[in-house]
Symmetry: C5
Subunit: 254 residues, 5 copies
């Protein structure tokens, strides 16, 4: 259950949940929906594509009170896809309703939902057990221009991980957290818990302008014992550039 | 073989098999059928879609004496799918006949059966060996509003599991059952045996209104030794919202 | 090489090879061909479908002297498929010729062969080394109504299995055979050797009216050491109802 | 690098490279190209198919000085495919050029290249280290009618294999070779080295009239230690009947 | 971060980044984009294909100041593909923009991006720790005709690798580097770091005229301990012939 305190902390984690007024005690659900456009879309008359695009723009606008949407243009960088939407709402059903209505729009009838995965934002599991590091995490702030790149990575642990004692997991998560401190200024990160809701245990999304820093960060995360318990890290790794929904629609219609 | 006693117990497990009058000594077969709609469906004339939808509604109605059907809207939350049907009957063939006739309907001609898996409801394997827990299981009752979410998870054990002594398996299933007690009020659960009938050993479906509780429940189920014997847990995890068949058809026709 | 003696034994195994006169010393090849119907088939004019169906019926008839064909309706129970054919002939080429000509028929032009796998019937490998059990196997006879369900399961062993001494394999196959005795009356079973001819080592097909017995049988087969050497058991498990070719064609045409 | 001596040896291995005059010191590259025909091909007008077939026949003829082509009809026996071509040339580019031009033909525009893999013929790695066996290998000759069946099996070793000492690998390859002697008369075999050129380390093609012998041969090859180092053996196993290109085209056009 | 020094070294590594003037201190991003042509492309009117081709040629030309593009014709040698582009730029977004605009061209509307993966060029990780070998690496120069073949191989390490001490990894990378010295004259090689940007850790592309040397090189690379830590080596291995973009377009239009 998310508390106001954890909400404030998430704000410090640098990936905002703007424009929707969240109840302080409600969980927040995130859905990552990756789309590919049908083969025939590009050969449809421009007018029809424009109309379809307008419907798709209007639809997201109509949900703006319930669902926050972030857009990512993945074509060229992520296999078999054109764009990804990230939806946040207090109720997973609202995410589903938006996507369901989107598929009824003129654009939505010509896209496939090639991958979708959801998780829930929860308070920190382990960090409270290493308060010194937690303090530093809270003080680390993203600096500079708004990030242009986003990378979404699902993670699944093996049963051996979950069968470890809490103490052992805390120790390893401390090792995991330590190397991330140096990258707080250049890489934003947000975590979702997905066990049971999907085939992954965690979804993590990174945003950055510095892909070399990001590459070094993930290498650092592979160099600790905790990574030996991951049976899935990526597969898919979804990488794209951050774009507004309107810009994504314009790219598709053009 | 299901007995009246086990039937009563299943009722206590909270996922009812309503509206069909089941013989007390017959097994019950469950089929989970996940469908995706063809690309061209959305561009077909509304009239044609409406007619196709009417046929599909009438068809399920015509089977209501033999087959109980539950519906789930999965679009947006489960990759490459639009909806799932769960069919219960005393004879697996009846499930197949319904699905076969459905594909002949105007709607059915434009959907693909992207995943289907069946199992049989049997009496409890292990719980009778830990009667104290069993008592608590039977007393736990789902409370509150009818659940809106459903999650179906197939499970496959490795050969090492099946080669354990019954005693060892009982001990681990007791560990597995213990953490579930706290969630009986907020999460319903039903189990099907699928060994030989499919590539999975078990199919388990959960229904809930509280996805955070559900996420915590599945994490708890991963923290016991029994999970180290699972070679498949999900893949796919099918998640959706509970809807009547008529509502699903309306969503598809709209 | 199959001898008359083993042929007689196979008859005792209860899955007959009727209507073709087999040479006593020739091997028999079985091909399992799983088909899915094209999306557009259902929207073709009824007349065209009927004509296509007639051609497909006539074609199988024309092969009746060389190839025995069994049919299974898999739609609804096996993912991405509509039906499976099992072909037996003394020459794998005859199976191929039938399938090749079938694809030229009006129906065959609108189906995909989504999975095909072949094996050869051989004498018993291990049973002669445990003559007491073999005696019981031979005495076990399927009883009751003709079976309505069939399940085809391919099996692949790991290299460790094949590197075991014959003695060790005999001992484990004896363990494997023992629990099957109780099910001889309710479940028929037939084995094909497929090493080199496919990615599997064995293909096994079961026929039954009692799916609960069948489920218990396969669980029993997973509870012996031999199963720890299986790297594939199913994947796919093909399950369907037994139907004549004419009935399958009628279902497709309707 | 192939020498005249090894060429002569390969001739003894029984799968000839006829009709092209090979330079004695040039490597020979083999490409296995597996094709599936488009859904719409069968419904195209016969004339158009005939014209497309004629173009495809003429094309292969035009390459006869540079590329040797063997044909295999795989439909019915190998999933998702209709035929396979094996191309041999002194230059992998020539194989590619033939396939590239083929796709421009009237037939080629309606087939998909569903799987392609290439390797190079090299001198024997290990056999020179067990000269007694080598002598027997060279003396073994295929006898009887030309083979009608062919089976192509890609093989990948794990890193442990390649990290063994040469001595250890020689010892295991000797074990591997020993059981093959009994099958030289009934099964032809040819080996290609594919490390780096593909995801496999070796491609091996067998030709035979006796599939029971072949099945026993592959079982024997699984019973030696060397097989415990294989991480891929098949996947796909491509099985078909040997046919001339003209016969394959006729089957497709009919 | 690439320095002028490392740039000079990369030049010595033999795969040039010609025609774009790179800032000496900027990272360089490489994107490998593998394309397959739609089924219907070949049946479109020649004029339309020619126009589409002209647009595609002009588009790449218009990016020549920001993005360097290398082309590879993969049809016939790499499953399910026709060609691959390698894009280099100082900004991954520029690679994406080129690909995005390409899909809007008359040719681009009829191709699928079946696989895409990106990495960044970085300074040498380990070689500075074995300066003697490094010296030899720098002195090795590709000789002879420009290479005609290219092979791209993605590589993923397991967590055990990344958890090794730097010292251990240096020792193994020295073993890995040693056998490559003999092939510097006949095989070019370039490395990209991809951790976090994709599911692979490294992308390596080889260019050569001597595929037998290349095959021997990769075998040598499998014979060292470092390879036992690879969980992915290839999958896909993309192999093709080096062609200019204009030549690739001409092959597609013809």
């Amino acid at each position: 259950m998310r508390t106001l305190a954890s909400l404030l902390f998430f704000a410090a984690m640098n990936i905002g949940l703007s424009s929707v007024c969240w109840a302080a005690d409600a969980p927040i659900f995130g859905t990552f929906a990756l789309f590919g456009v049908h083969e025939d879309w590009g050969d449809m008359p421009l007018e029809e594509r424009q109309k379809g695009g307008q419907e798709a723009k209007a639809l997201l606008e109509s949900f703006s009170k319930q669902v926050t949407v972030d857009g990512y243009w993945t074509y060229g960088l992520t296999t078999d896809s054109h764009f990804m939407l990230r939806l946040h709402s207090a109720d997973l059903q609202a995410n589903q309703q938006l996507l369901t209505q989107l598929r009824g729009s003129g654009l939505g009838r010509h896209v496939d939902l090639v991958y979708t995965i959801s998780g829930v934002i929860k308070g920190l599991n382990y960090a409270p057990d290493f308060p010194d590091l937690l303090e530093k995490l809270k003080m680390g702030k993203y600096e500079g221009e708004p990030p242009q790149y986003a990378i979404m990575i699902p993670i699944r642990k093996n049963a051996a991980w979950w069968n470890l004692s809490k103490e052992d997991r805390v120790a390893m998560m401390k090792e995991h957290t330590l190397p991330t401190l140096s990258y707080l200024k250049s890489v934003k990160r947000k975590l979702y818990h997905a066990t049971g809701l999907s085939d992954a245990d965690f979804l993590t999304i990174f945003e950055t302008n510095n892909l070399v820093d990001f590459n070094n960060l993930v290498i650092a995360l592979r160099m600790v014992r905790e990574d030996t318990f991951n049976v899935q890290l990526g597969e898919p790794t979804v990488i794209g550039t951050i774009k507004s929904w309107n810009d994504i629609v314009d790219l598709l219609v053009k």
